[in-house]
């Protein structure tokens, strides 16, 4: 697939060109708001994931971009053109459907050629582009088969070739790996990632699998109840979740509630049922504005910490700030790491420790330990 070379126009005001821009999209089904005033800008050439539980609106957003559904309000701009007037079959986007939606009465070759045939591309070009597209996803030898004779992974590749042959500006993928077994899924994740890098086409990838999103995406929009809760790259989303929902949807997270006791230029302290905790101030960005506004004396706040950030030490080791006495309630040893359930006062904390050193022994159930919650690992949440 040739990557369409972009002429460097001096006209572009923003440094990064925009593939999709959504402004205030609303879509309501009965009383359910599938999209509740969603605004998002997707950059040209990025691997963008929409991540969230089922019913969060991620597939609705994808269908609206594809033109298979219409928003009740809001504007959608695709490659600089208002998409409202463009019907699905004329949009420069193609979709890989969750069910693959391969045409059962056509061969693999005919499936891949379908889009070009509908656009009345000359036959010689169709042959060339179909062959190229099938080679790209390694299904050339399957061209005479019917979809009914293919495995799940093969169907997936055919669906991909059928979309990519049209050289879309944006490729939409609706949980494309959902129906495959774990091993195949991992393999295809890597392939999809490479493919996107090679082609430079904008990918919008819908998934409910947080690991999938973290592994593949340049940026992730975490969606919940029709809204985008947080939009950032994988590391920021994982390390600095803004909301309770994001913190708990991606990986597991310990939440601690408390009241603010002091705030200074670098950090703030809270009084929680666990004890007094010192937390670094969140960076002063627009994303953290809501959280920072909560930092008033006696203001109720929630802070989060990932299990792997909690450090455990023997009871008799030197205690300092953000250290609490805890008891090992339960543990799960899984070779590379050990997961602990800690009881600290009335709090239950989960922690994970990497068994890094040779002969590392994990703590036994019932043992009293010290747990340390580093102030830089604690994140202030919006809610």
């Amino acid at each position: 697939m040739p990557v369409q070379s972009e002429s460097l126009t001096s006209q572009t005001t923003p440094p990064i060109e925009t593939a999709i821009e959504a402004r205030g999209l609303v879509r309501q089904f009965g009383t359910v708001k599938a999209l509740d005033n969603v605004s998002v800008t997707i950059r040209k050439g990025e691997f963008f994931s929409l991540l969230g539980p089922s019913g969060c609106g991620k597939t609705t957003l994808l269908r609206i971009i594809a033109g298979l559904d219409m928003p009740d309000a809001g504007t959608l701009i695709i490659s600089g053109t208002d998409a409202e007037e463009i019907p699905a079959h004329k949009r420069p986007v193609n979709t890989v459907f969750q069910s693959y939606a391969l045409f059962p009465h056509m061969s693999v070759w005919e499936n891949v050629a379908f889009g070009l045939r509908m656009k009345k591309v000359p036959a010689a070009q169709i042959t060339e582009r179909v062959e190229r597209s099938m080679a790209l996803v390694q299904i050339s030898e399957l061209k005479a088969r019917r979809p009914g004779q293919l495995s799940g992974g093969q169907k997936q590749r055919v669906a991909l070739a059928r979309a990519l042959v049209n050289e879309p500006a944006v490729l939409l993928l609706d949980e494309p790996l959902g129906a495959l077994d774990l091993k195949l899924r991992k393999q295809l994740q890597v392939e999809l990632h490479h493919l996107q890098r090679r082609l430079g086409i904008t990918f919008i990838y819908v998934t409910h699998d947080q690991e999938e999103a973290l592994v593949m995406s340049d940026r992730i929009a975490v969606m919940n109840a029709g809204k985008i809760e947080q939009l950032d790259n994988a590391e920021e989303i994982y390390e600095r979740p803004n909301t309770r929902f994001v913190a708990q949807f991606l990986g597991s997270c310990n939440l601690i509630e408390g009241a603010v006791t002091s705030v200074n230029g670098k950090n703030f302290s809270i009084r929680s049922t666990l004890g007094s905790l010192r937390v670094v101030l969140p960076p002063a960005t627009p994303d953290t504005a809501i959280a920072r506004a909560r930092l008033k004396i006696d203001g109720k706040v929630t802070v989060a910490i990932r299990p792997e950030k909690i450090r455990l030490a023997k009871k008799d080791e030197l205690a300092f700030e953000n250290c609490f006495a805890a008891k090992i309630d339960d543990l799960v040893y899984s070779g590379a790491e050990t997961q602990y359930r800690l009881r600290a006062g009335e709090h239950i904390l989960s922690s994970v420790a990497l068994n890094a050193k040779a002969g590392d022994t994990h703590f036994a159930i019932g043992k009293n330990v010290l747990c340390y919650l580093p102030e830089s690992s604690l994140v202030l949440l919006d809610d």
Binding site: A66, G67, L68, P87, A88, H89, K90, V93, N94, T95, F97, Q98, S99, A101, L102, F103, P104, H105, F114, G115, M118, K119, R146, P147, G148, R162, A163, N166
Partner: protein
């Protein structure tokens, strides 16, 4: 157990006799040499050859065929579009309309026939159109055939993954292309089965045809009815046998098409 299976065999035999004995009698007597009455006087095929020289019967056969073909083609196209529209689009009153589709199926033929006759005569007196004849018969047959086609086609469409049509549109097909290249090929067995059903209904219909026919548009069922009033003749038996044969063939075709339907279902889902 044995008693049960004996009872089962007996009742099954009785049922089959009840269903098929009259038909068998007509077929057997179409080969009876006797000109009148029910006595068997020997085997002959001469009634079939008299039939071939009976210009009234040939003309009626021709009418029946044209009526069947025209009405089936029209009702299959309209019924398919109706079935597609019913499964594909949302519109106010869709629920009620879906139920109304069954009304022509349940309304007694005689009521439908009288209604159509009345309707056509009103149109005729207002607009001077629709003289009774083959045209009114075709229209009448289309009226009772459409629901059958639509119901069969709709059943087929229900099993179709809606994302197939969306995929077609996504890949650049407009609505007509998506229907023509994706939907139609996949529902074709259903469309054909609906069409064959419509054709057999037309072929066998007497009541509606009788009421809406005009001079010169006599069909085989009407011909048989009027001949029988003058007494059953062996060539009528031969004619009936041929009609039975045609119906059986059509039924077999429908059954084969239905089988295609079930064997492709797993591909469709």
């Amino acid at each position: 157990m044995k008693r049960n299976s004996l009872a089962l065999t007996l009742s099954a035999t009785a049922l089959y006799l009840f269903l098929y004995a009259p038909i068998a009698v007509v077929i057997v007597y179409s080969f009876n040499a006797a000109r009148f009455g029910a006595t068997w006087t020997g085997f002959t095929t001469k009634w079939y050859s008299t039939l071939l020289h009976n210009s009234l019967a040939l003309h009626a056969a021709e009418n029946t065929l044209w009526l069947g073909v025209f009405s089936t083609v029209i009702s299959t196209v309209l019924g398919t579009l109706l079935g597609f529209g019913m499964s594909r689009y949302e519109f106010p009153g869709k629920e009620v309309f879906g139920k109304l589709l069954y009304v022509p199926v349940f309304v007694p033929d005689i009521v439908l026939a009288v209604s159509l006759l009345l309707f056509y005569s009103i149109i005729r007196s207002w607009l001077g159109l629709l003289e009774l004849g083959l045209t009114t018969m075709i229209l009448a047959h289309v009226t009772f055939q459409i629901p059958f086609v639509a119901i069969v086609v709709r059943a087929r469409l229900v099993g179709l993954d809606p994302s197939l049509e969306e995929a077609a549109r996504d890949l650049g097909a407009n609505e007509w292309q998506a229907f023509r290249h994706v939907i139609l090929p996949l529902i074709l067995p259903g469309v054909m089965a609906g069409g064959m059903l419509a054709f057999t209904l037309s072929l066998d219909d007497f009541v509606v045809s009788f009421f809406t026919s005009g001079p010169g548009s006599t069909t085989l069922p009407i011909l048989i009815y009027s001949s029988v009033k003058r007494g059953i003749t062996p060539d009528i038996n031969a004619l009936s046998t041929l009609i039975i044969l045609a119906s059986v063939l059509a039924t077999i075709v429908v059954a084969i098409l239905q089988r295609i339907k079930t064997s492709t279902r797993n591909h469709i889902k």
